[in-house]
């Protein structure tokens, strides 16, 4: 995606999300940077993020399934050491899920042993 930064330079950013409350926009080079932005916003505001754009083949190819488990299993083929949480969240946005929706469901699934986190913010199916 090509966007215009505040300094007027055109730049390529593969991941873009926007606050549902304030419209604050994050343009990131990695999907997990969007997750970090979401967490910083959460410390200060009761707000969620909607994805505007995610330019990653795994997201493009992700199945149209309303299930974290099904999407995670499909994405798992693309990543050797775990699916970045941000990529999973971007893939779930195809079903209208916000970042907060995905993180909340991931937490529930982790706490029930249905998926595991081999390293921080990277997920694999059980």
């Amino acid at each position: 995606m090509t966007s215009v930064s505040r300094t007027g330079q055109r730049e390529d950013v593969p991941f873009v999300a926007r606050s549902t409350e304030t419209g604050a926009r994050v343009e990131a080079s990695s999907a997990n940077e969007v997750i970090a932005f979401y967490r910083r916003q959460q410390e200060l505001l009761d707000t969620d993020l909607e994805w505007e754009f995610a330019d990653h083949p795994a997201v493009t190819e992700a199945p149209d399934a309303d299930s974290i488990d099904a999407v995670l299993r499909a994405l798992d083929d693309y990543f050797e050491s775990g699916v970045p949480l941000g990529v999973l969240a971007a893939a779930m946005s195809k079903q209208g899920w916000t970042v907060g929706d995905t993180l909340s469901e991931v937490y529930e699934l982790r706490m029930s042993g249905s998926l595991w986190e081999p390293r921080a913010d990277h997920l694999r199916p059980v």
Binding site: R6, T7, T22, A24, R40, Q41, E43, L44, L45, D46
Partner: protein
């Protein structure tokens, strides 16, 4: 003479004399990760730092959290109606206790409880209770129950952080023996407390992440030499020639005179002007002079190259009128114009071309900012 890195010019400490060439912080103090780490201790660990607004937590047990540098703090109203602050860290084994809770959506709790082993604390921080497993040694064959020491409530309480207030503004200090808030604030305290700031309600918050060092934005806020060229909509109502920038020990005030009288109902303060207060290190109070309300900024560093601007707006009601919404939109326009400027400046600083900037004679507020930073680094 400009001090370019290419000319191998040596940089120097910020001169106390603003007419000297070396009147600004060297560029590396804006771009170095080491300086960012140093500032956590030398600036944000030593001076009074704004936590939030007292009106957000009016009920007993109401609380919000705030992160300053690496320190996470719970700010809570106790049973005596006092606002207290504690590190968000359990006295047992150091677990973070309370989830991040923004001032704009505060929580309420009867006691502070750590979810790890269920140690509970009163709102004054004293240890209230521990589970039975901490009073008996049933799982330890080498220890009898009688040998288990009971935990003293006050000596095993939470680690309290010093708090003080200027009107409804709650400040924290992490130093062992800090200067009093009244001393750091000077005349700012009485000036702000003379206004009925506590009568206004929080109406809106905008959080923006900006790609520059926090001091870059702080410097931009503190001067208006850039206003004619870059805030053309706003500047049309301001008489800059009749304005002035007043510098004090740890705060400075930007007095901007309006070119026409504004209705008294649209001001909180007496003077017919906009008054922007910058309180070292990273808090501002914005008395716009054209709205029955005020704003605050927190300029919070994320790292050496990014900061969060937390912009809060207070009006007589939390539900803004159309005029107030329009006012906030104008304020947001100014912010976005400034974000563009400071990101451009920071791109230039990051290139490494410039070793040390030079300040002009009307950037004496920026000079004060740089001097305070340098004093803090050297302390």
């Amino acid at each position: 003479m400009t001090r370019w890195n290419a000319n191998n010019d040596e940089v120097a400490a910020v001169s106390p004399d603003i007419t000297d060439e070396t009147n600004a912080l060297p560029a590396e103090y804006f771009t170095s990760p080491d300086i960012h780490e140093l500032e956590k201790e030398k600036i944000f660990g030593q001076y009074w730092v704004y936590a939030g607004h007292a009106n957000a937590i009016t009920e007993t047990g109401a609380y919000f959290t705030r992160t300053i540098g690496d320190k996470q703090v719970i700010i809570v109203r106790d049973h005596d109606d006092e606002i207290r602050a504690f590190f968000n860290v359990c006295a047992h084994r150091g677990s973070k206790m309370v989830e991040d809770t923004p001032m704009t959506n505060p929580g309420n709790m009867g006691r502070i409880r750590c979810p790890y082993h269920m140690w509970s604390y009163d709102l004054d921080g004293d240890l209230e209770s521990t589970p039975k497993s901490f009073e008996e040694a049933g799982l330890n064959p080498d220890l009898d129950d009688e040998e288990v020491c009971s935990l003293d409530a006050s000596e095993n309480g939470l680690n309290e952080v010093q708090t003080d207030r200027i009107g409804p503004f709650v400040f924290l200090n992490f130093a062992d023996d800090p200067m009093p808030l009244a001393e750091q604030a000077g005349t700012l305290k009485t000036e702000l407390e003379d206004m009925p700031l506590e009568e206004y309600e929080h109406a809106a918050r905008y959080v923006s992440e900006v790609d520059c060092n926090w001091k870059t934005f702080a410097g931009n806020y503190s001067e208006c030499d850039h206003c004619h060229a870059n805030h053309q909509d706003w500047i049309t109502d301001i008489e800059l020639d009749e304005s002035n920038l007043e510098v004090n020990d740890y705060h400075w005030i930007l007095h901007y005179t309006h070119d026409e009288d504004v209705d008294d109902e649209l001001r909180i303060h007496e003077e017919k002007e906009a008054k922007f207060y910058y309180f070292w290190p990273n808090f501002t109070v914005n008395m716009y002079g054209t709205a029955d309300g005020y704003g605050t900024y927190i300029i919070d560093p994320i790292d050496e190259g990014r900061f969060q601007l937390i912009a809060d707006y207070y009006f007589s009601s939390a539900e803004m009128t159309d005029a107030e919404q329009e006012f906030v939109q104008t304020s947001r326009q100014l912010q976005e114009e400034d974000f563009e400027l400071v990101e451009r400046q920071y791109e230039g600083l990051q290139s490494g071309a410039l070793a040390q900037a030079q300040l002009g004679p009307n950037e004496h507020t920026v000079h004060k900012l740089h001097r305070l930073a340098q004093e803090a680094y050297e302390a």
